[in-house]
Symmetry: C2
Subunit: 402 residues, 2 copies
């Protein structure tokens, strides 16, 4: 009657299975190539799990790196191994899609700190043979990007044709250009910011506290235990989910509509459709995500402040790069509003980088970057086609990729 359904521990352990035995390609970086982390520590050996789509051309010039958002993963355009649902960006990535896998070689790796096969708190620490938990150093966006750069190098790719991503993925895009200005031909940061606002930190902190308030979280040591912190994680997801939508979209979609009833029950049941929807979002999330990992990825976003690494000048972060940019925001996104995108554009202008900026009119909120928004699709397609011409990639069906 009340609350979020209790999940069997086995359900949440799916995440652990993927953490250690991912349904993906994996590179295990040996001890002589450790990951140097901003926290001042190194981890080694460590792993990166990734997916690729399409074919790398002979000149290795058609690689697109897709960076995933907070709770996304490497399964961009294939069925998810845990949920069976279509890839999270299958509207954007695939044959004939804006990021066209008939033309481009698309790479997406699970971030460090994630739970889908790259080293994260749900992975086993090779030194102890036990799950890392909170012993894993806190991960930053720059750490994630450093690991991705090692993967890209491992794949023999010197320069990426494009780095693209939304939300936390967009932060990685910005960090890529700052960290590796010569290795990014074009960049597509979407619905993102160069630093987290106080409000965004606040919402993330609520989520972390919801996880930590769950006694089954047990100080982060819940691996292998019967009780898993699924209730706390579900509450965290519910709170976060509200921020992914717009007030207008919620009103249009749900308003005050009742769920399968004609009148209020005068109880704490999910009378309203919006309640039912949120409960579903919370309880389905815990099937595929690890609670500690949620702490790590939210923390990485909160710590992100690109300008701070460059004496407070965001423009300085981009000096020396020649990357062509397309910055995209959505009118109803209140998590990363257009003002955040404008700040990025101003810095790129100040650094004399070629940049186009598109604000897409939509009521779908932050989530719009995951949806089939026609203007957004057309923008991405156009930007990549123009960049492909400049890069000397042949149009349409590439002879290299067929």
């Amino acid at each position: 009657m009340f609350g979020i359904q209790n999940h069997k521990a086995t359900v949440s352990n799916e995440a652990f299975r993927e953490a250690e035995n991912p349904s993906s390609l994996v590179v295990h970086f040996p001890p002589d190539t450790p990951l140097v982390m901003d926290a001042g520590l190194t981890i080694s050996p460590f792993s990166i799990a990734y997916q690729t789509y399409g074919t790398l051309n002979a000149t290795r010039s058609n690689a697109v790196l897709v960076c995933h958002a907070l709770t996304g993963d490497q399964h961009v355009a294939n069925a998810h191994p845990v949920t069976g649902k279509p890839g999270w960006w299958s509207t954007m990535v695939g044959p004939g899609r804006p990021i066209d896998t008939d033309r481009y070689f698309v790479i997406c790796s699970n971030v460090i700190g994630g739970c889908m096969g790259s080293t994260g708190p749900a992975s086993v620490n090779p030194e102890t043979g036990k799950v890392w938990g909170l012993d894993l150093p806190v991960v930053t966006i720059r750490d994630m990007v450093r690991a991705q750069a090692m993967l890209v190098e491992h794949l023999g790719i010197e320069t990426l044709f494009c780095v693209a991503g939304g939300s936390m993925g967009g932060m990685q895009v910005l960090q890529w250009v700052a960290s590796y200005p010569d290795r990014v031909f074009s960049a597509l940061p979407i619905a993102t910011a160069s630093k987290h606002s106080a409000q965004n930190i606040a919402f993330h902190e609520v989520g972390r506290q919801a996880v930590m308030a769950d006694p089954d979280w047990n100080g982060g040591r819940y691996a292998g235990r019967a009780g898993q912190p699924v209730k706390g994680l579900a509450v965290a997801r519910m709170a976060a989910h509200i921020t992914y939508l717009s007030e207008g979209a919620l009103q249009r979609k749900f308003g005050r509509k009742l769920q399968d009833r004609n009148a209020p029950t005068f109880s704490f049941d999910a009378d309203f459709q919006i309640e039912n929807y949120l409960r579903y979002q919370g309880s389905s999330f815990v099937d595929r995500f690890d609670a500690n990992s949620y702490l790590y990825v939210t923390r990485a976003c909160d710590y992100f402040d690109l300008a701070a690494d460059y004496d407070g000048s965001l423009a300085r972060a981009f000096l020396g790069a020649k990357t062509r940019f397309c910055v995209v925001s959505f009118t109803s996104d209140w998590l990363y509003p257009t003002s955040d995108a404008r700040a990025i554009v101003h810095a790129l202008n100040a650094a004399s980088l070629p940049v186009s900026f598109v604000e897409i009119e939509t009521d779908k909120g932050h989530d719009a970057f995951l949806l089939d928004e026609p203007d957004f699709m057309a923008t991405t397609r156009g930007f990549l086609e123009s960049a492909a011409r400049a890069r000397g990639l042949s149009g349409g069906e590439s002879e290299n990729s067929r």
Copy 2:
């Protein structure tokens, strides 16, 4: 190191003490005057705890009823019996204040469903001798107002000079005029709406789920137990608190400032001031509020849809009333934005009621209604002075009230 501090059960039991033995005046309504509730049930006997300030004049024409918000209480302008802090509206109510206790007789009662002495889930059910918990029927805004009307009648007041309140208090103001059109001379609904939006229901549902996810909530039966659902309630408060502020105010007040440190700790400590602030808001709230009561008052707001009781016409809710209104909203309030206030004003216009509408420019968000905003204070003072003249109340120091 992590999370919200554990509170001793005794701390939370303060709320229980006030629930049964309030530091207030109390009216115990005997069995022959039950409270008829929208849920289709009655409760009897039941209690209303209240405070008064100032003196009722000889003609009983100077009474102002203040309606409190979600987690407010009757302690408008005196030190709070649990926290020792000044009354929640001591900027607005007191000698020489806009709601001038030298001129007006001010009444404020704890709402039904609250936990400060009016019958609520933390009160003892006289039939069973046990704490009500979730056996108390779900309470609506109309139920709260019905109980207040019984109190006002008990005090021998036929017509209230003014009913005033912000947020959930503003909902009660609207309901008062709809339910008792002849008994309200003037009305001051502030930062409120005639119905809850999907987004507002969503945030409340997150709060309720946070409470219910706490194993110490124990299906609502935690009275007298060692473990109290303080962690869940604290998370609920943290999430809600974000909605009371504006993004701009958070940015101005906290931004990305660190708490008592010069560099991030690369941990899950409260590195950022905003994290520290939210944790404090969460943990101090549980000292004075009951978790079940939080479920009841949020539910009351969610169910509120005044027009729905009048065939979907908000104007019809006000037909027949002669009450003069002043509707106030705040520019940065995203919980009850100005569009909600405008909808009320349009309905009042359609019902041909005298109404003035003031939108106060401020970056302080929803919380502005509790703060010393000069334009807001001046607006309230002016409206009440004009209403007092129309009501034939003498200006300044009333001979009746001294």
